[in-house]
């Protein structure tokens, strides 16, 4: 994929400086200190991390970070290479929002009295795709899973009814074109690198390793 193809300018996602949201997916060993090593690659360049998630991956023992930043393509590519250079990092991918399936989870705590009086729970559940996680006499906790706009919409809806607490998780993302890391890992564990491993943007053969 050429650079030009890669930068898909769509008016609502790319700002005037050519920046947009990128989700960086890092496959790494689960090692103390690695998060710091990755985080300082951003802070060294004074780049803010919008969202960071650290979790298990499809392979036992291999960790997966999802990092969201708002930057231009060139900057993100250089960052990805710097991250991949770290000894305990296996592989780094970076994708625009169109190239991933992503979700965030939000929790909302509201007064049960308020909500029972002024707004029907049923409507909330339906309209915002929310689920009630806990319903107690004093408070109710709703959960919404979705994109930022969706979780934000419920914050707005609940504002008049005393939103007691709100929290949103980091983004988790699945890459549409990814076949997962199982095959790659075999390459990494092999003593001699195979050609597959060397994905090669220099050859402009590009990106898609898996198509549905």
């Amino acid at each position: 994929m050429s650079t030009e193809d890669k930068i898909k300018y769509t008016e609502d996602t790319v700002d005037l400086e050519g920046k947009q949201e990128y989700t960086i997916t890092v496959y790494a060993e689960n090692r103390i200190g690695l998060l710091n090593r990755i985080a300082i690659i951003f802070s060294k360049r004074k780049i803010n991390i919008e969202s960071l998630n650290s979790s298990a991956s499809e392979i036992e023992g291999i960790h997966r970070f999802n990092i969201v930043i708002h930057e231009g393509y060139e900057v993100v590519r250089k960052l990805a290479r710097q991250i991949e250079k770290q000894i305990e990092v296996l592989k780094v991918y970076f994708n625009t929002n169109e190239e991933i399936i992503w979700q965030e989870l939000a929790l909302y705590k509201v007064s049960t009295d308020e909500i029972a009086e002024k707004v029907t729970v049923e409507r909330l559940l339906r309209q915002y795709g929310a689920s009630a996680v806990v319903i107690r006499k004093d408070y109710t906790v709703f959960a919404v899973t979705g994109h930022r706009e969706e979780t934000d919409a419920l914050v707005k809806a609940l504002e008049p009814y005393e939103l007691i607490e709100f929290v949103r998780s980091a983004r988790v993302a699945i890459i549409k074109d990814s076949a997962g890391f199982h095959e790659k890992l075999k390459e990494f564990e092999a003593f001699e690198p195979g050609e597959e491993l060397i994905e090669n943007e220099f050859l402009e053969k590009g990106g898609k390793i898996f198509t549905m």
């Binding site: 200190g33 290479r81 305990e88 090669n200």
Partner: protein
């Protein structure tokens, strides 16, 4: 008497991973590991949290030579000098807290200049971590941005594997510094240890890729089509031990080649295709013609801003081929038409096979033309000055005449460094040792001590300014005690010369705090029982230099040079390489 049956049993026992061969402490197994890795020399300084390792070291005096430096920064710079001169991994010991923080400058220097080091720091007992214990600092987090890898050991059973990884990581791929922080309990811990196994694979780490011929073909095609090709080479050629492969490549293609200061010496100064130095104080032709060449072939260099000057006016007309082992360097500063990711020891011979025999006489003549202009306007006045004041250049010319290009030249940072890189002659690789990326004043003296241990048969000359010398003069004590025969040449202009030059040229001659005074360097050296003398007249210069170089042990020579001499040519900061000034 060993029987065949015994041997079989032994082999079977070996096959079991549980087989233990050594019972001892974490400290002992660490030192055994260092010996397994081929370490002979350690630069270090003891302290509370590393005492068990030093206690063990007491019994290893016949196998491991320990050089007691006078400050941990001196220790790590010495290890850098050792690594750069020998091609081996430099090893440093330091204690926790201040001992470890004193390593930071050297780690940053080694990181940016890709120098393989393994640093061992002591740490407080594991149960005290996070309690602000005496001499506790968070060494791992402090050193994370300036190490290729670091690791904290809290259990002696980790030591062998971690040490093996450390050496593998430090020297493979693009080399760099590694730090292992070992808590005191792990140093003391008594265990049964298996045989030491060197590391040659880490699944998350690819030191170098398998070379793809597609790159090579594309690069060769561009090079073969070029009318005015130009090679820029850096330390990658030296780190990859690819000097011969590099020479074969330029000789076949007939392409003029210019060096970054880190790459200097990879081919001899006198090589007919060596057209000189790149960058801010580099040679005239290589800088101007960077903006005239049609294909720019960068080999093992990283387009530092001191090399490129203003990037948006850098080689815009040229198609760039970039050979590097670190994929993060390709396209980082200068966009490459063809990026050849790989070890140049492997990529260069493949490329040489595919490129045409060529001579670029007209193109080379252009370099010669610019060179003549530089000789007339800059080099001759610098090397053969007619005024009363001595120049740094004439000191270098005399050294070249005396040593014939066979000395190892270690420099500090500043005007003398640029003059030394510009004018020193080198016949051999690994002979120019300087702080390139970080520009660390105070590097010269300790690095020269290390270089002498790394290249004991060579004459090692440390060329240092009066300012830089005063940053790490305590290492004269190391020389006094261990006798490294380093020739120390202080070029004294009674100014912080490079900053003064900038203040003169760009700050209306407002000399703000560059007027530095010096002690009596000769008396200082003599107080450390090091022979010394001072020259302030040209008439005595040659004799004094010969005395220094021919002296059996270490020697300090102070040469008084012109106060306000400037280093030219110069690409002013923010200007294009083609806007280089001759005066």
């Amino acid at each position: 008497m060993e029987t065949a049956q015994d041997t079989i049993q032994q082999n079977e026992a070996k096959a079991e991973t549980s087989k233990t061969l050594f019972k001892g402490t974490g400290s002992q197994v660490l030192l055994n590991g260092l010996i397994e890795e081929g370490v002979t020399t350690i630069f270090g300084y003891p302290g509370g949290a590393i005492m068990p390792i030093y206690d063990a070291l007491y019994d290893y005096a016949d196998k491991l030579e320990h050089i007691l430096v006078r400050h941990e920064q001196g220790g790590i710079h010495a290890a850098q000098g050792f690594a750069r001169a020998s091609g081996e991994v430099g090893v440093v010991f330091a204690t926790s807290g201040p001992g470890a923080t004193n390593l930071v400058t050297g780690l940053a220097d080694a990181q940016i200049d890709s120098t393989p080091l393994v640093c061992i720091t002591g740490q407080v007992f594991a149960h005290l971590l996070g309690t602000d214990a005496f001499q506790e600092t968070d060494v791992i987090n402090i050193t994370t941005p300036v190490t290729k890898w670091n690791y904290q050991v809290t259990d002696a059973k980790e030591i062998q594997e971690v040490l093996a990884k450390a050496f593998y990581i430090a020297k493979s791929g693009r080399p760099g510094p590694v730090l292992i922080d070992i808590t005191k309990n792990a140093q003391l811990q008594l265990e049964e240890f298996p045989e030491y196994v060197k590391c040659n694979h880490i699944r998350s780490y690819r030191p170098k890729p398998k070379v793809r011929v597609e790159y090579i073909e594309q690069a060769a095609e561009l090079i073969n089509s070029a009318k005015k090709p130009f090679v820029l080479f850096g330390q990658g050629v030296i780190l990859g031990n690819a000097e011969e492969e590099f020479k074969a490549f330029i000789e076949k293609t007939g392409i003029p080649a210019a060096w970054t200061i880190m790459g200097e010496g990879a081919i001899p100064t006198s090589h007919p295709l060596n057209v000189g130095m790149l960058g801010m104080h580099g040679n005239y032709g290589p800088n101007v013609l960077t903006n005239e060449c049609d294909v720019l072939i960068a080999i093992g260099m990283r387009f530092d801003d001191r090399v490129t000057g203003r990037l948006d006016k850098y080689a815009k007309q040229a198609k760039v081929v970039h050979l590097d082992i670190d994929p993060a360097e390709i396209d980082k500063n200068v966009k490459a038409e063809v990026g050849v990711w790989g070890d140049c020891k492997e990529t260069l011979p493949l490329l040489t096979n595919l490129v045409n025999d060529n001579k670029h006489e007209d193109w080379l003549a252009k370099f010669r033309k610019y060179n003549q202009e530089e000789i007339d306007q800059v080099i001759t006045p610098e090397l053969y000055p007619t005024g009363d004041e001595m120049t740094m250049g004439e000191v270098l010319r005399n050294i070249n005449e005396i040593c014939g290009g066979d000395a190892v030249i270690v420099t500090d940072v500043g005007q003398h460094q640029m003059v030394a890189c510009r004018y020193a002659k080198f016949n051999n690789t690994r002979s120019n040792i300087t702080s390139g990326g970080l520009g660390t004043m105070g590097f010269g003296l300790p690095a020269a001590i290390g270089a002498k241990y790394g290249a004991p048969d060579k004459t090692v000359i440390a060329i240092i300014g009066d300012g830089g010398f005063q940053m790490t003069p305590q290492e004269l004590g190391t020389i006094m005690q261990f006798g490294a025969a380093v020739k120390i040449l202080i070029l004294n202009n009674r100014f912080l010369g490079m900053v003064r030059q900038w203040q003169q040229l760009f700050h209306d001659k407002r000399y703000s705090f560059v007027n530095i005074t010096s002690p009596d360097f000769v008396a200082l050296a003599k107080s450390y029982y090091i022979e010394a003398s001072k020259v302030d007249e040209r008439a005595n210069l040659r004799q004094a230099l010969e005395t220094m170089i021919n002296h059996e042990g270490s020697y300090l020579l102070e040469v008084m040079v012109g106060r306000e001499n400037n280093v030219f040519p110069m690409v002013p900061q923010g200007m294009s390489v083609s806007e280089i000034r001759l005066k």
